[in-house]
């Protein structure tokens, strides 16, 4: 009997190869490849006056060296601006190799191809570039001041200014009984997957095909970019995503310069070529995110209900803007969270700086939006002397108000309409989980011991499962094995497992018989990519629809073979049975044989499908409207995004002397619709929370005034070890199914990281009685805050008494 796989804690099928060291990550491929090393700019802002590569050619083992001069056709044009937007009036993207100017430390200037990476690096170091220095623009203050410009032709360093409003927010605020203004700051961090970027390319001279492997979150995106840049037809380019050692957003940008340079070299040299990024390169030439300055104006009533909200945001987009305005659009739209301010206006300014580009990092602008909103909620509660949870509850969208239209346009260009949720219930759950109501007593207890603790709460709504579409292809082999492919890629989310769970249930086959391939354009050339917590929703739904078509096809074939009515059939463990007629059955493998009428028998099984053994002589073998093979390819395209939601609460302890911040309890309530595999969802939440802890308390990009990144290593960029993350993370789920897709699922990939800056700011503020406006916060910063904060520690503690 087939047990239901959907919703079960099924162990992952991908673990087997990873645990044995048999994963195939990018650098594990093409042992015979030539290696590249990039010569990168050591300066943040300079004009290139000369590039001398003479000395490179003397290095034994060097095969080729490329500079901008060597780029032809579309390769000589700037890299694409992937997501244009009418407000993006000054979009600038970089060249694959710098043309005549560099705009950040790490920008690629020349590429060396050599027998191995050691030689390639030796050679790249011998390239001599002459520069004329320009003043670097580092940080948002410098970008806003615009005393110097990153790009000569971009006035004010402004890539875009964009506004969305549901009414006259300032008017509503001025009429409100209470008003507040907040200035907030959030710094840069980055995805830093354990595996960096990487690309391998082979030009197959015999077949006239280009094969590219890339550690990417979008194989179809890379394919389209490579084809366009190298002037090839899409049909001769295959892009295959091998095992990927983490992505978190940075690998969705495409093409990275190396993703087109490596295939270009492979074609020119007729040999396989490989680029494997090292850690320093990842820090200085991939992407960062998060940095924003925010100004919030809010008007509210005596209950803390918001009557008008006006937000202005300055967003640091780095030196170029290939991913368009997605991050600040998400910040300004997702800022609203589970709340319904009657009038809202948000303006953002996206600004160039001479630093690494900014593209989505897990959460993609949401952590900043949630930070702005939740800091505002805490400020309202403080102003009114009210419980912070109560103020939030007063602003919640109610369960009977779904679908709820926020009156804005979301990042997918579709209306921001929440599909489902239950925020009051979620708040009850998180309060219970963290012990919100008991906290005052706990605080007293701790205080009696001379210890200082604080509690924080943060709520968010996360638009997930954005379109436009994903597809699935399923083929039942004559052995009964079920081969599934979907085009989007995998970076550790366990797609091979969860998609197999869906197929097992939908088709009625054993989980072990299902084999899933992702991110291979040879198997599924139509796809978008893995980002925005969309894989489960998009590919999960597409695969479910595909499984249903295959099921229909199988039942029709079986009905004919068993001379039974389709409605009397069921499929269990890969065998079609006639209900109530024991013995009347046929396996899916046999149906796969029969589905493909043959002239030739090539093995025992296929004899059954040859022309003298099967079929009604009066009918055509493949009737109109059908096709040979027990397979199907279907697509899912949603009307708009699904909206997952969650609430986090944390109890922290701050050391009265050293200002060290310790996490005593971390609670998560999360609603991602129906769960396909709770074990995997919890794993995603754990990982997100740890990344959030890093972003809130430890990680930042330390640029000096010259635009040098001073902490471009794991030695100095403080990614959390086990010692920095909470000992336990208490997780509770709420399941409000999405009405938008066949499985009722939402998405879970990014959730864990979204409310971190907000929830820690809330808790530290509560512990210290000092208003927190800048995140991340380190012990030294907290220590300095204490010193500059007016009044003694005693006064500070007194100020928070009575609050939660």
């Amino acid at each position: 009997m087939t047990t239901k796989a959907f919703g079960a804690r099924v162990a992952r099928v991908e673990d087997e190869r990873f645990l044995r060291g048999r994963g195939r990550y990018l650098d594990d491929l093409a042992a015979d490849a030539l290696h590249v090393a990039l010569h990168r700019s050591p300066h943040a802002h300079a004009r290139i006056t000369d590039i001398d590569v003479e000395a490179v050619l003397d290095v034994d083992g060097v095969v080729a060296v490329y500079t901008y001069e060597d780029l032809t056709g579309a390769m000589a044009d700037p890299l694409p601006l992937l997501i244009p937007h009418p407000d993006l009036t000054h979009g600038r993207t970089q060249y694959a190799l710098a043309k005549d100017q560099v705009n950040y430390v790490g920008e690629a200037i020349a590429m060396v191809v050599a027998v191995d990476r050691y030689v390639a690096e030796d050679a790249a170091a011998r390239i001599v570039v002459s520069y004329e220095f320009l003043p670097p623009v580092v940080g948002l203050d410098a970008a806003r001041a615009a005393d110097h410009l990153v790009h000569d032709d971009v006035p004010g360093n402004l890539a875009a200014t964009s506004t969305q409003a549901t009414g006259d927010a300032m008017a509503a605020i001025s009429r409100a009984p209470h008003r507040l203004a907040l200035d907030l700051d959030i710094e840069r961090s980055a995805c830093t997957p354990l595996e960096g970027r990487g690309t391998v390319a082979k030009w197959d001279t015999d077949n006239g095909r280009l094969e590219v492997w890339s550690s990417t979150q979008t194989s179809t995106g890379v394919r389209a970019a490579v084809a366009a840049k190298l002037g090839l037809d899409l049909s001769v380019v295959d892009v295959i995503t091998p095992d990927v050692g983490g992505g978190f957003g940075v690998k969705v940008v495409h093409p990275w310069p190396e993703e087109v340079l490596v295939p270009m070299a492979a074609m020119a040299l007729g040999r396989p070529v490989k680029f494997t990024e090292d850690r320093r390169e990842h820090f200085i030439s991939a992407a960062h995110e998060r940095a924003q300055q925010q100004h919030v104006e809010v008007g509210f009533d005596d209950d803390g209900r918001i009557l008008g909200l006006d937000v202005e945001i300055w967003h640091d987009n780095g030196a170029y803007i290939p991913y368009g305005l997605i991050v600040p659009i998400i910040t300004t739209t997702q800022l609203l969270g589970p709340y319904k301010p009657p009038v809202y206006k948000a303006t953002f300014h996206s600004l160039y700086t001479n630093t690494v580009i900014v593209t989505p990092y897990r959460g993609a602008g949401r952590p900043q939006g949630v930070y702005a909103m939740e800091r505002t909620m805490d400020a309202i509660a403080a102003a009114l002397g009210k419980d912070r949870a109560e103020v939030r509850a007063a602003n919640f969208i109610q369960p009977d108000e779904f679908p709820y239209d926020q009156g804005l346009i979301f990042q997918d260009g579709k209306p921001l309409i929440y599909d489902s949720g239950d925020f009051p219930q979620m708040l009850d759950k998180v309060k219970a989980l963290v012990g919100w109501d008991e906290f005052a007593a706990f605080r007293d207890e701790m205080r009696a011991e001379g210890r200082r603790v604080g509690i924080g709460l943060a709520c968010y709504v996360e638009g997930t499962g954005v379109g436009p579409y994903e597809g699935g292809h399923i083929q039942v082999e004559t052995t009964g094995k079920v081969k599934v492919s979907t085009g989007l890629t995998t970076q550790g989310q366990g797609h091979q497992t969860v998609f197999a769970q869906i197929v097992a249930d939908e088709l009625g086959v054993r989980f072990e018989d299902v084999e899933v391939v992702t991110g291979d354009t040879r198997r599924m050339p139509y796809a978008v990519g893995t980002y925005a917590s969309r894989a489960a929703v998009m590919s999960g739904s597409a695969i479910a629809l595909t499984a249903r078509s295959v099921r229909r096809k199988a039942l029709e074939l079986a009905a004919e073979a068993l001379e039974a009515n389709v409605d009397d059939l069921e499929i269990r463990d890969g065998v079609v049975e006639v209900r109530g007629a024991p013995g009347a059955q046929i396996s899916l493998g046999t149906l796969a044989v029969l589905s493909n009428p043959l002239r030739y028998a090539f093995d025992e099984a296929s004899k059954a499908a040859t022309q003298f053994s099967v079929g009604d002589p009066d009918k055509v073998p493949v009737p109109e409207g059908t096709s040979p093979g027990l397979e199907s390819r279907d697509f899912y395209s949603p009307p708009r995004s699904t909206f997952a939601s969650g609430m986090h609460a944390v109890i922290v302890e701050t050391d009265p002397d050293t200002a060290e911040i310790r996490i005593l309890k971390y609670a998560v309530v999360h609603d991602c619709g129906r769960l396909i595999n709770p074990m995997i969802v919890e794993g995603q939440i754990h990982g997100g929370v740890a990344q959030g802890v890093g972003g809130a308390l430890y990680e930042r990009m330390v640029y000096d005034e010259h635009g040098q990144l001073l902490n471009a290593s794991f030695m100095d960029f403080l990614m959390p070890y086990v010692t920095e993350v909470p000992e336990t993370i208490d997780v509770d789920h709420l399941e409000t199914p999405s009405p938008l897709n066949p499985l009722g699922i939402k998405g879970a990939g990014e959730a864990g990281v979204i409310p971190s800056a907000a929830v820690f700011a809330s808790a530290i503020e509560d512990a210290e009685g000092i208003v927190i406006t800048r995140m991340p916060i380190s012990p030294s910063e907290l220590y300095d805050l204490r010193r500059t904060h007016a009044g003694s520690d005693e006064a500070a503690v007194a100020a928070v008494e009575g609050d939660s």
Binding site: E16, L19, G21, V63, L194, E195, D243, V244, R279, Y721
Partner: protein
């Protein structure tokens, strides 16, 4: 611009013999070849991963004569005659998963799998020294390895589970 392909590396080669997972290998390699690169690229043992090449992430951890060491910080030529164990060598008789590997599967101790080999080798050595760790000791055991995916929760559980499996408590 291009020059005709050449295949001669510049550095002088040195003879090194390594015993990796019980198999003897003789290598001719330049003095500067990192042990991580020698394992991955000269021997094709790509299970050992490189996450930072500066000794901080621990992904490249292997056992050198039983001791966990970071192969990205060692020169292969300095390992002449050493017995090395990589992730590929952690399986048991009949290609069954070893207890630490099995524990990671049971507890969902991995996501992308890139950091995993370094954790598996580190924990294998750790449990040899402390076969019955407390939760605190389990955290301590993995405190030098970075993982960006799991938030470590299930890795700590995996350590405890592996200890249990090693003690023969497979069904617990």
């Amino acid at each position: 611009m291009t020059t005709p392909p050449q295949v001669s590396a510049p550095d002088a080669l040195h003879a090194v013999s390594l015993i990796v997972n019980g198999t003897a290998y003789a290598l001719e390699i330049p003095a500067r070849r990192l042990l991580s690169d020698a394992l991955r690229h000269d021997l094709g043992l790509t299970g050992t991963h490189v996450g930072c090449e500066h000794g901080v992430c621990g992904a490249c951890t292997i056992l050198v004569d039983g001791q966990p060491m970071r192969s990205c910080l060692l020169l292969a030529v300095s390992m002449d005659g050493a017995e090395l164990t990589t992730v590929e060598g952690l399986t048991e008789e009949g290609d069954r998963l070893g207890p630490v590997q099995q524990a990671f599967q049971d507890c969902h101790g991995l996501q992308c799998g890139f950091c995993t080999p370094g954790f598996l080798t580190t924990i294998t050595a750790g449990l040899r020294d402390d076969p019955d760790p407390t939760p605190e000791a389990a955290r301590e055991m993995i405190a030098g390895n970075l993982c960006r995916c799991t938030g470590y929760q299930n890795i700590v559980k995996s350590v405890l589970r592996a200890a249990e499996l090693q003690r023969g408590g497979g069904d617990a």
